[in-house]
Symmetry: C2
Subunit: 384 residues, 2 copies
Amino acid sequence: MPSILDIRSAVVPISSDIANAYIDFSKMTASVVAVVSDVTRAGKPLVGYGFNSNGRYAPDGLLKERFIPRLAEADLGGDIDPVLAWTAMMSNEKPGGHGERSVAVGVLDMALWDLAAKIADVPLYQLLADRWRDGEVDSDVFVYAAGGYYYPGKGTRELQQELQSYRDRGYRVCKIKIGGADLGEDIERIEAAIEVVGEGGNLAVDANGRFDLETAVAYAEALQQYNLFWYEEAGDPLDFEIQAELGKIYPNPLATGENLFSHQDARNLLRYGGMRADRDWLQIDCALSYGLVEYKRFLDVLPDYGFDRTNCIPHGGHQMSLNIAAGLGLGGNESYPDVFAPFGGFSDATAVEDSRVGLHQCAGVGFEEKSNLIAVLRAATETD
Amino acid sequence: MPSILDIRSAVVPISSDIANAYIDFSKMTASVVAVVSDVTRAGKPLVGYGFNSNGRYAPDGLLKERFIPRLAEADLGGDIDPVLAWTAMMSNEKPGGHGERSVAVGVLDMALWDLAAKIADVPLYQLLADRWRDGEVDSDVFVYAAGGYYYPGKGTRELQQELQSYRDRGYRVCKIKIGGADLGEDIERIEAAIEVVGEGGNLAVDANGRFDLETAVAYAEALQQYNLFWYEEAGDPLDFEIQAELGKIYPNPLATGENLFSHQDARNLLRYGGMRADRDWLQIDCALSYGLVEYKRFLDVLPDYGFDRTNCIPHGGHQMSLNIAAGLGLGGNESYPDVFAPFGGFSDATAVEDSRVGLHQCAGVGFEEKSNLIAVLRAATETD
């Protein structure tokens, strides 16, 4: 019966010279954890790795104060079951208040799923498909290139060069930020972007929750003519009234959810946010939201509100969500071709073609087939 | 122009041999902070103190990783203004995800208000009344005794003895837990409690978010006959549908909000939770929710939904909320006569009479008039 020998954590920078509407990423950090098992293969112990995706900080104190000790002391029932581990990690935690600890649990949950798939000696997407989807796996997954940040001195020419670079790497759909400039300047950026990506249906825009209702509506009215791929997170992520108002007046797809960190919060979006199952997108990111165990609860409430898994394209651009997308049939996954390296991006051997990416073949989440990431994960946690 | 010389933090236990429906408090902790200024009085520097109230853990890592460094580096505009400090502490934080960091900011916010009032040489309630209420202060504040926890081996006789002890100390209204037993046993406990407190209108009950809709409704139907003071947090704090359903079927007062940690989350309760301004109670606790700066935003949205400050009786039982209650005219404050010492409770010189408590006279939050608390605050932070 496998058991956990050691749990290690470290903090690494996610340093990027970029800013969106809210965040200067130059001080951003991520936690990296390694869960070392007593199962050996080829003479080495199997190790599960996890990290948190961008936008929030390394939950280093929370991991060390509460969640690693609880996991280390947990009785996992003679197996390394991420669901039992989740319950143990969340013991003595009150309901509500879903932030920060949701990141800490998400980091450990990723490592536990990586380890569970390695022990089963299958890619994680296959483990998930076998457990929750009759074994069927999507052989490739829709991905879009997220970028288009504001930089000091960056004009529409540099924006076009950036997007052309994504197109050259196989991305049909690209995303740019809005809301860091005024509407007039943002419209210039959007029109410049469409010149590169070919049509509005290949361009998504993201306001990062910056707009009040009036601004959100003004943008909606101005954006409508371009038939964009989506208009993302216009207002505060918990202001479901703004979202619901956009759902009434904006005919094209809307997307939100990256800052909702529990199935209860996401359910409130479905209940009150006026999201439309026939066109809108849900971006909950398990790596910030208590991990896959909680994400599965979110997937399970979707049908109650007329949605299904194909409405989901998670935030984060990491391999964990790629596995969930392929194994459980999500609508796709984010990708950051140029930022948040090495945490973003997929297996070295998989190229993007027409905005679809193939899958890794090794056991686990696939970190061992992404050379720059596995090097960081091993070095930070002193594992090999 | 006053400035901050040092910010110190420490972790102290809130050890209690009690459990509610969710939490074993024996592992609970609190952060204590001291903000040391360069303003001296009677030869000593003025120090502001803060701590987090019960139910969540000491946010030690978050304080040290992000919020103390940001506060230490902040330009507070030549003054020690808690509002400017709040903005500095929340720089580079994304919207949404309100938990844990809300506790860290709440701890520092409390210390900053304590310090600001000490520099102004007035009790905090007076500073607040002068700033936001034309100077009027309530001379005493409604408080109720929170207790009635489940203990191993505790029967209705011991429950009655506990409540009688609160009554003997001047509390008219007392609160007990429900949901840790089945409905039949809880009804026995409620009837035993009413024997002591005299009538249902002197008894509140608290389910700590444990119930699903069916159980919440079954309790509502059974509780109705007792005309209780309130029925608190029946369902998950973010499941506003359960709350709204109770608002339709339960004629007597409902209370909730201690696990909503931002004005956006609290606003969603007002928008979707079916709370009734003519009888229901809002229990947002600033010490868990980004402090008074954010709590003021919550107070400011109340009128949009037909509520006012008298609907608010904060969770937590600490002096910070007592100051807000007296200075800004809230409906009252919680009190824990026997648990969470020394953080709960009020000035040594103030006795409770008919469930009302008087105010401290010293400058600041009043810690210096609560001997067991100020001793802990000073010892933990090595200040005097």
